[in-house]
Symmetry: C2
Subunit: 100 residues, 2 copies
Amino acid sequence: MVQRLSAEARASALRELPGWTEMSGREAITRTFTFADFNEAFGFMTRVALVAEKRDHHPEWRNVYRTVEVVLATHDAGGVTVRDIELAGAMDVIAAAKGG
Amino acid sequence: MVQRLSAEARASALRELPGWTEMSGREAITRTFTFADFNEAFGFMTRVALVAEKRDHHPEWRNVYRTVEVVLATHDAGGVTVRDIELAGAMDVIAAAKGG
């Protein structure tokens, strides 16, 4: 099973993930993405959903029109693992990608 | 502009929408859908996203693996309108539809 990261390892990983922060009151990391409109926001979610399903590691997320609030944690490990750090990085790449 | 429903009209509309309830502390309606897995949950969201975009009326929703919590309200009207009732009905039809 994948190991839960220590507080130090989490902090170190987050330094490489600008925009992501530790969630208060819970061992998880969070970021809110803001897009131009619903089309872009849901397009992002769709691309992430395919990645998440392939990896069998899924985000908790809330969408309100053009914003997507994401929370990542690994339930089985009771905290943040390398799987969350990797999914966070993949989400950043997808969010930064422009179509066309 | 579409009219905000009165408390009586909201209650009457909700009698036709089993599973939907008034949100506490906010003039909105809510339902939590539970599916077999993430594939089904996100498939539901994708179908609903197309309907929402076409109608230019979007849900607030939160997805955690196989559950989708939905909140519907009409921001411009400051409450629940017929657009929310109609979208709720469309979501119920999509959730009840089986593929294959």
